[in-house]
């Protein structure tokens, strides 16, 4: 009898131990800390661009000149978006530009990015050889378009949109492109 009691206590303990191990590691199953610190930081106007140094690996890194080109474009979009929505926004926007081969692991995509307007930030994959195109703002082959910048500025200046569809649609419209192609080239019936 005593032996059986002890066995059941042991079983309960093992069960509890398994539960603890599962529950303890659960937050790491859901979210892992991934502090990427090796950045070159370029501050330009209202943009703080974080990009990888040339010898970083994980795909091609932007040359310094390309980084300056990206920052200048983003500053241009920054103002153009405000002009479009007729709202002022003066906060600095942080851009984290990952090399293409490492981007999937760190930001979940190697062909674009996503924005976190709460912290004026967006993450993006640097893709050196993209489609030849001129965007709606007249910029030739921008490495990073205006899409994520639209999310940051509109969410902060106008508030969170009612639906995801509205948010994405507005960003595509203001960016003027989808998947690296001009929406006016692809959909010629759209109003100009």
């Amino acid at each position: 009898m005593k032996q059986s009691h002890r066995t059941s206590k042991t079983m309960i303990f093992i069960h509890q131990l398994i539960m603890v191990l599962l529950l303890t590691s659960c937050t790491d199953f859901i979210a892992q800390v991934d502090l990427q610190k090796e950045w070159q930081v370029l501050g330009s106007g209202n943009i703080v661009l974080h990009y990888r140094s040339p010898d970083f690996g994980g795909g091609s890194s932007p040359e310094d000149e390309e980084a300056r080109f990206i920052a200048a474009n983003q500053n241009y979009y920054y103002q153009a978006i405000q002009d479009s929505i007729q709202k002022d926004f003066t906060g600095k926007v942080l851009i984290y530009l990952y090399n293409q081969d490492e981007a999937l692991e760190h930001i979940g995509t190697s062909g674009g990015g996503h924005a976190l307007p709460k912290v004026n930030t967006f993450y993006y994959a640097f893709i050196p050889g993209q489609n030849e195109r001129r965007d709606k703002y007249g910029i030739e082959n921008p490495f990073v378009g205006a899409h994520e910048m639209v999310h940051v500025i509109t969410h902060r200046a106008l508030g969170y949109p009612g639906t995801k569809l509205m948010s994405e649609g507005y960003a595509v419209w203001l960016d003027g492109s989808y998947g690296g192609h001009s929406i006016r080239d692809d959909h010629t019936s759209l109003p100009r």
């Binding site: 206590k9 309960i12 303990f13 509890q16 539960m19 603890v20 529950l23 303890t24 659960c26 937050t27 790491d28 199953f29 859901i30 979210a31 892992q32 800390v33 991934d34 502090l35 990427q36 610190k37 950045w39 930081v41 703080v48 974080h50 002022d88 926004f89 003066t90 906060g91 600095k92 942080l94 984290y96 760190h106 930001i107 979940g108 996503h114 976190l116 709460k118 912290v119 004026n120 930030t121 993450y123 902060r156 200046a157 106008l158 508030g159 969170y160 009612g162 639906t163 995801k164």
Partner: protein, 297 residues
């Protein structure tokens, strides 16, 4: 009832307040019931032990940004940081076979800073960005087993967490979030009685904040203080707390604890109570450390 704010936006503030009041009322009923249970259930002559506890925690708070939305998510820069003291008061009552422990804690408003990955704050005006936390906790503990000098216990925990966070952006805009969250969850704890004076303890808590038991309110204000957006939200968070302590029993019968707790929380808040992310307007992705000293008497 709809109202019109200064920007001409129509708000359903009154309706949202009504929902909020209902929530607060339900929460109050649940809490009062839970907290009164041990006093109703146990007879006075059965009380084995009755003790108070005071504690002082040093909270090192780190809130991460959701770098990747895939599961497992990646938590990265920019970080929101603060360090602030938290004051606690607890009361323990023991009956044969069960222990009840109640505690309350309140923090000083912590000044929030941000780190872009190279130690720079490009986001917040630290003087006006604040995090304030207060909480009520309850624990019903039962012994699991005793082996030599080791005692293991398991517990049911529940409580209420209130959190106020104001992010004052450098350009002047603000985002204010207020969270009132009820949690429930299991706990395991073990103590190794090294000798008559010294003991070593460890614990683990898993806490579930369910969307139907939570209420939050987010407000965005522009530089002039005009409201540009506001919405209530319902959060679904999962929190794990694990810790270690070393304790010393004084000859006068008091116990002094010195310990550390790792406090992780992850989750999101939609406008509607949902268990999946939909229109996420708030999130928590935190890894806090709490160093504490406590005295039980």
């Amino acid at each position: 009832m709809k109202t019109v704010n200064r920007n001409g936006r129509i708000e359903k503030k009154a309706a949202s307040l009504t929902r909020g009041t209902g929530f607060y009322l339900k929460t109050a009923v649940v809490l009062v019931s839970v907290f009164l249970l041990p006093f109703i259930a146990g007879a006075a002559e059965d009380i084995r032990c009755s003790k108070w506890k005071v504690s002082l925690e040093y909270l090192h708070h780190r809130s991460f940004s959701q770098q990747s939305t895939r599961i497992p998510m990646k938590a990265g820069f920019p970080l929101i940081l603060t360090k602030t003291p938290v004051f606690g008061l607890g009361y323990r009552r023991e009956y044969p076979g069960v222990k009840h422990f109640f505690s309350a804690a309140i923090s000083l408003p912590g000044v929030l800073d941000s780190d872009n990955g190279s130690g720079q704050n490009y986001l917040f005006n630290g003087d006006e960005s604040r995090l304030f936390i207060s909480k009520l906790d309850y624990r019903l503990t039962m012994q699991l087993f005793q082996w030599k000098k080791i005692t293991a216990e398991h517990a049911f925990t529940s409580g209420l967490l209130y959190e106020y966070r104001q992010l004052r952006y450098l350009q002047g805009g603000r985002e204010i979030t207020r969270d009132l969250n009820l949690y429930i969850g299991p706990r395991m704890q073990a103590v190794w009685q090294i000798n008559d004076k010294w003991s070593l303890g460890g614990f683990f808590d898993g806490r579930f904040y369910l969307p139907y038991l939570n209420y939050g309110y987010l407000q965005s204000l522009d530089e002039a203080g005009n409201e540009i957006f506001s919405s209530s939200y319902r959060a679904f968070y999962y929190q794990t707390l694990s810790g270690l302590r070393i304790s010393f029993q004084t000859s006068a019968g008091q116990r002094i604890d010195l310990g550390i707790k790792k406090d992780d929380i992850v989750g999101f808040a939609n406008r509607k109570p949902l268990f999946r992310p939909d229109d996420v307007i708030h999130y928590k992705l935190r890894r806090d450390l709490r160093y504490y000293v406590a005295c039980t008497f």
